[in-house]
Amino acid sequence: MADPKEVKRLQTLAYEMRKKLITLCGHYEGIVHIGGDLSVTDLLIGLYHYGMKVDPKNIKAPTRDRFILSKGHAAVSMYIAMTLRGYFDFDEIMRTYGRLGSAFGEHPCKIQLPGVECSTGSLGQGLAIAVGLAFSARVKKETHRVFCMMGDGETCEGEVWEAANTAGSYKLGNLVGIVDRNKQLMTSFDGDYINLEPYADRWRAFNWNVIELDGHDMNSIVDAIDKIPPITNPKPTVLIAQTTKGRGVSYMEHQINWHAGSLSKEDTEKALADIEANYAKLGGGK
């Protein structure tokens, strides 16, 4: 069972992160992938603030856990989760995001922004790169894990399953996939055209250890992280997190038109009010 105090701490961080996301989205005149940002918020807090061994003061430490955001369009979520961990300065993100010369762009770039492990943005490519990192760690006898967060939509890409096949065949127990199973693609819902179910069985069929969880319940997230087996496990692990695109903002949830967008002053106020109300329902961190 997850430690209730730890869960409260993480819930408060997720609340702070949602406020920052909405603030940025309201401030920036261009579009932000706010729907997917909100569906991975709790998971990223779980990873950066509980599950992964990382040190923002020593971003090159060989012992650090590696993280690849395969769904690169959720970059803003990663920036903010990392900011709350002490990597970056939120004011700088507010000031520069998406602008000429900024390190903080719509998709993460490791060349522009040290601390990001891998540049991503073209969907379906992250897992294969994570497999490369996992092979390297195994041969060097390093004990860290490699985490790779994917959107469920990008797992339509063949390369994901090529990589899943390699990881299962080579028994890469140091590799952990996280799928943001929000059941929405950019322009349709899962099942409208493309059917992703039976989803967990697909991963099991590729010889992965599957852990299913509620990607918005911090107890469930902490429990799932605790269940990740040691790196000597003969299977890679995937956390399949049931999530909702736009989670926490009532007018965005289950809406196709909130894959990405920008917020008016009124939208911003309403979203922030929803976030306050949801946090109060959780006990406001108390």
Partner: protein, 317 residues
């Protein structure tokens, strides 16, 4: 493998690459050999270094991603495979996972041009055009099998992605006595000097160019033959010098004529504003060439030694 050197005799470039990767893996703990079910050259390597060998099955996109991941961790992965799948199936991964991050991945590709003998699915006519258009990618085309070793050795200190185009890799003509020449990325090699015309060639077409030059000697024509193994970056000074000194320029290549070395050479002299008297390109036209050996197809499409010799004569008329 000990081989006696004789100009024009055969040696397998693929087996040179296979021997060299073992030599490198012994010396460097960060060298890997990886393949998508195309590890014919790696039979001994995978016995000697099973931990640093990955065969992903037939999955080139995934392989490119894994190469990027290995390189992000300070490794130098050598991808072994057939050119069309390495350069086209995985094109976007090569660009975005490898070149965008400027990672030191090495691509050892066999079956350059129409040498595969397996038809248009397996022919590699577009690869140089595709690979040279990727920012940060270096493109080399090697005919002389012993040169493969030299290039693989020097690649250990080269911090960027590097594509090595080989011909079929089974029967390759030896051109240069090992140890006698220095090869560098960004340099070309004057394999034969001459003042009447220059033939620029790469890969196994260098041998054809040298044979064409031999034929022309009988007519009193002295042809300079330049092995332009480094296509990107290209040796601009050598191009300009040849244009100025010989006037007539022929490019001979086993690649589409409109996006390979000929285009690179034309760019160089056009940008410099130094024009040849005559310029001719021989290679693969806009066609899916179909079946036959490399030699038969070169003859059919008019870019073998005979065609090269006639083209030079015509330029001098």
């Amino acid at each position: 493998m000990k081989v006696t050197w004789n100009f024009g005799s055969f040696l397998s470039a693929r087996s040179v690459a296979g021997d060299t990767i073992i030599e490198l893996a012994k010396k460097y703990p960060n060298v890997w050999a990886i393949t998508a079910d195309q590890g014919g050259a790696l039979k001994q390597y995978k016995k000697d270094f099973p931990e640093r060998y990955i065969d992903v099955g037939i999955a080139e996109q995934n392989l490119a991603g894994i190469a990027a991941g290995l390189a992000l961790e300070g490794n130098i992965p050598f991808i072994f495979g057939m050119i069309p799948f390495m350069t086209m199936r995985a094109c976007e991964q090569n660009r975005t996972a490898i070149c965008y991050q400027d990672l030191p991945v090495r691509f050892i590709g066999t079956g350059g041009g129409l040498t595969s003998g397996a038809g248009s699915t397996h022919n590699a006519m577009e690869d140089i055009g595709i690979m040279k258009s990727l920012v940060n990618m270096t493109v080399l085309s090697i005919g002389d099998p012993n040169m493969v070793r030299d290039i693989m050795l020097l690649s250990m200190t080269y911090p960027h992605p590097l594509y090595l185009r080989l011909a079929q890799g089974k029967q390759d003509r030896m051109l240069y006595e090992p140890g006698k020449y220095e090869f560098k990325i960004g340099m070309g090699l004057t394999a034969r000097d001459g003042k009447d015309a220059t033939i620029f060639a790469h890969g196994e077409m260098v041998f054809e160019a040298l044979e064409a030059a031999d034929t022309l000697v009988k007519d009193g024509i002295k042809v300079r033959v330049i092995d332009m193994y480094s296509i990107k970056p290209v040796d601009k000074d050598l191009v300009i010098k040849a244009v100025k000194e010989t006037g007539n320029v022929l490019v001979l290549e086993d690649h589409l004529t409109d996006c390979g070395l000929a285009s690179v050479i034309a760019d160089v002299f056009a940008d410099a504003g130094v024009y040849p008297k005559k310029f001719k390109r021989l290679g693969i036209p806009q066609v899916y060439a179909g079946f036959g050996s490399g030699e038969e197809l070169r003859k059919k499409y008019g870019y073998d030694k005979t065609a090269a010799a006639s083209a030079v004569k015509q330029m001098l008329e």
